[in-house]
């Protein structure tokens, strides 16, 4: 498979609390603890999970906005973690990010024109006049007017700002965009407009998306494949329709059962998880989900289940689905 992006064994442990001058950090938060994922050109991979499960961190590790502690990231066949800083800068042209917060992610002191042109300036693309033309095109493409370039971000609504963020991400014609909860801060009525814009752009330019979200309805609309994360690990990965039709991991089942389905005749039995997400500083032994899993056995406490292929393009990490010693 010629993946656009292939990440293997991503690990990020954050020190818990600030180390003092003379002491070492005592604990680590295992935010991301061995994540593999791949994205094909033109494909949308969704990362879903509860808040704090490490999905945003994973997105940032892939872009090396946060430095991974371990793992390899192959982007278009090149190992991002081995590229020297200058080459990494070049590679950044092809991978961009859209942020969750449409208010914080645009510099309030800059005009929209300067914000959208910044990627071009940083990479030395074009003359001032050419850049202005490109900014006008980009603004038009995302549904704003070229005249908006002279305004400041505070003059725009949340949805419009997110369009500005999208225009900035598109400026360098990237191949992969990490979308970190791109619509979760927007009104529901605006969400669909922005999502449709993103789908149109994907079709038009063959963009690969890593779509990070906790909103399963949105994910269902956007994704080709879905990876479900729990406490820093992927517990199940499958094509969208397979996952929604027949979730296999108990956590995925519980997540899906929480999605309201309007107009659905079938009465769903809701699987209610008890307890809180355990701390990522001291995750449970064996399977991380066992403390909240209705089917947990003694094996789950002893052995950590590996993400195992169970069908074509489908991976599950659960002893119930693939009993230990089975593979």
């Amino acid at each position: 498979m010629s993946a656009l992006l292939q990440a293997t064994g991503l690990v990020k442990h954050f020190p818990a609390g600030k180390p003092g001058l003379f002491e070492r950090a005592p604990q680590v938060v295992r935010a991301v603890d061995g994540v593999d994922l791949s994205v094909a050109p033109g494909e949308t991979l969704a990362l879903v999970g509860e808040s704090g499960c490490g999905k945003s961190t994973t997105g940032r590790l892939i872009l090396r906005l946060i430095e991974p502690d371990a793992g390899t990231i192959l982007f278009q066949g090149r190992d991002l973690r081995r590229e020297p800083p200058a080459r990494l800068r070049e590679l950044r042209r092809d991978m961009q990010i859209i942020f969750q917060d449409p208010f914080g992610s645009l510099d309030p002191r800059m005009t929209v024109g300067r914000i959208v042109a910044e990627p071009l300036v940083v990479h030395g693309v074009g003359t001032t006049a050419e850049r202005a033309r490109r900014v006008a095109q980009l603004l038009e493409r995302v549904g704003l007017a070229p005249a908006h370039a002279a305004r400041h971000p505070h003059e725009f609504s949340g949805g419009q700002r997110q369009r500005i963020g999208i225009a900035r991400a598109l400026a360098l014609d990237p191949k992969l965009i990490v979308c970190d909860e791109p619509v979760s801060a927007l009104d529901v009525s605006i969400q669909a407009q922005v999502l449709n814009l993103m789908l149109d752009l994907q079709r038009e330019r063959g963009l690969g998306y890593i779509f990070i979200s906790h909103n399963l309805a949105v994910v269902r609309y956007m994704a080709n494949r879905i990876a479900v994360m729990y406490l820093g690990k992927i517990v199940e990965e499958a094509a969208r329709d397979d996952l929604f039709a027949a979730p296999q991991h108990p956590y995925t089942k519980a997540l899906l059962s929480a999605v309201p389905e309007p107009g659905s005749a079938r009465a769903k039995q809701r699987i209610v998880l008890t307890g809180d997400v355990p701390s990522a500083i001291d995750p449970p032994s064996g399977c991380r989900f066992r403390t909240r899993c209705p089917h947990a056995t003694e094996t789950c406490a002893r052995l950590e289940p590996a993400l195992t292929p169970v069908a074509d393009g489908r991976n599950v990490a659960c002893h119930l689905v693939t009993p230990p010693g089975h593979a």
Binding site: R89, E118, V122
Partner: protein, 288 residues
């Protein structure tokens, strides 16, 4: 095609908030008139500030010498007018030097977290000395001159400015738009200059308006104890120092330059308070 409401109402512009801030406008008037007097010193001073007139020593205020004369018969009013020029110049230079070094040092400490501990412990050590004592010590070692006074005061107040700058940078560096700039491939220099500096500037400006006031006051202290710009040059501090032996017979020599300092410092402090309110009402500046 965008069906969204065009925009949230823009916040009241800064200058409008300042115009409506009464104590800011009062401070601006006070300080503005001092600046005007300093700029026009050569035109409006009635006498030569250095010209001795021993026949008329310690003269009381009268029609010719409105604020009296000092021990050498020099016109106190003219000396205050010319002294304001020197005192403001020293204050301004201290502000400029402090701003540059404070912003650079504080900016580096706040942005590059590995430097933080080292830089800020050095700054803390400098701040452990009471400000004016440190300035006196440095000025005494360097010798009395206008340049050395500026240097001593700048060294003294740079750590305080650096601390404010660092705090501002710590806030701005975590903003999503800084991460956005990194994602785009922007280098540290670009991020510091185009994103961090403009967005972290406001607390620094407030701090600097207070530093200006404190520097003028501190210059007077340095001159008073004889480690400031040497006499016969007129500065607020020098005039008072000249008059201190005659405070019983000729109180006007000390009184009027003292008033001039009070007006200048009050004006600057009101400006600082107004800026602080207008820029961010929650911000508190702690200056000891």
């Amino acid at each position: 095609m965008t069906a969204e409401a065009p925009a949230i109402a823009a916040p009241t512009p800064l200058w409008r908030r300042l115009l409506n801030h009464r104590s800011f406008m009062f401070g601006l008037t006070l300080f503005g008139s001092v600046v005007l007097v300093a700029l026009l010193a050569d035109l409006i001073a009635p006498h030569d500030p250095l010209k001795n007139n021993f026949r008329y020593r310690l003269g009381e205020p009268n029609d010719i010498h409105w604020l009296g004369t000092d021990r050498a018969g020099r016109d106190v009013l003219s000396r205050i007018i010319h002294g304001s020029q020197v005192s403001l110049r020293i204050g301004l230079m201290v502000v400029v030097v402090t701003a540059v070094f404070g912003a650079v040092i504080g900016g580096l400490a706040g942005y590059f977290r590995k430097l933080d501990n080292v830089i800020m412990r050095v700054m803390d050590a400098m701040m452990a000395f009471p400000g004016i004592l440190l300035a006196i010590a440095i000025a005494a070692v360097l010798g009395p001159s206008e340049f050395n006074a500026v240097l001593a005061l700048a060294i003294t107040y740079t750590p305080r400015t650096a601390r404010v700058a660092r705090a501002a940078v710590l806030v701005v560096r975590e903003m999503p738009y800084v991460e956005a700039a990194r994602a785009v491939g922007a280098g540290h220099m670009r991020i510091l200059l185009t994103h961090v500096l403009p967005n972290g500037l406001t607390p620094l400006i407030v701090q600097l308006s207070y530093i200006f006031a404190i520097a003028i006051l501190a210059e007077a202290v340095l001159s008073f104890i004889g480690v400031g710009p040497p006499p016969p040059l007129a500065t607020f501090g020098n005039i008072i120092a000249d008059g201190r032996d005659y405070i019983q017979e000729a109180p006007w020599i000390c009184l009027y330059p003292g008033l001039a300092i009070a007006i200048t410092v009050l004006g600057l402090n009101l400006i600082g308070d107004g800026l602080r309110d207008a820029l961010d009402p929650r911000m508190k500046v702690d200056l000891r």
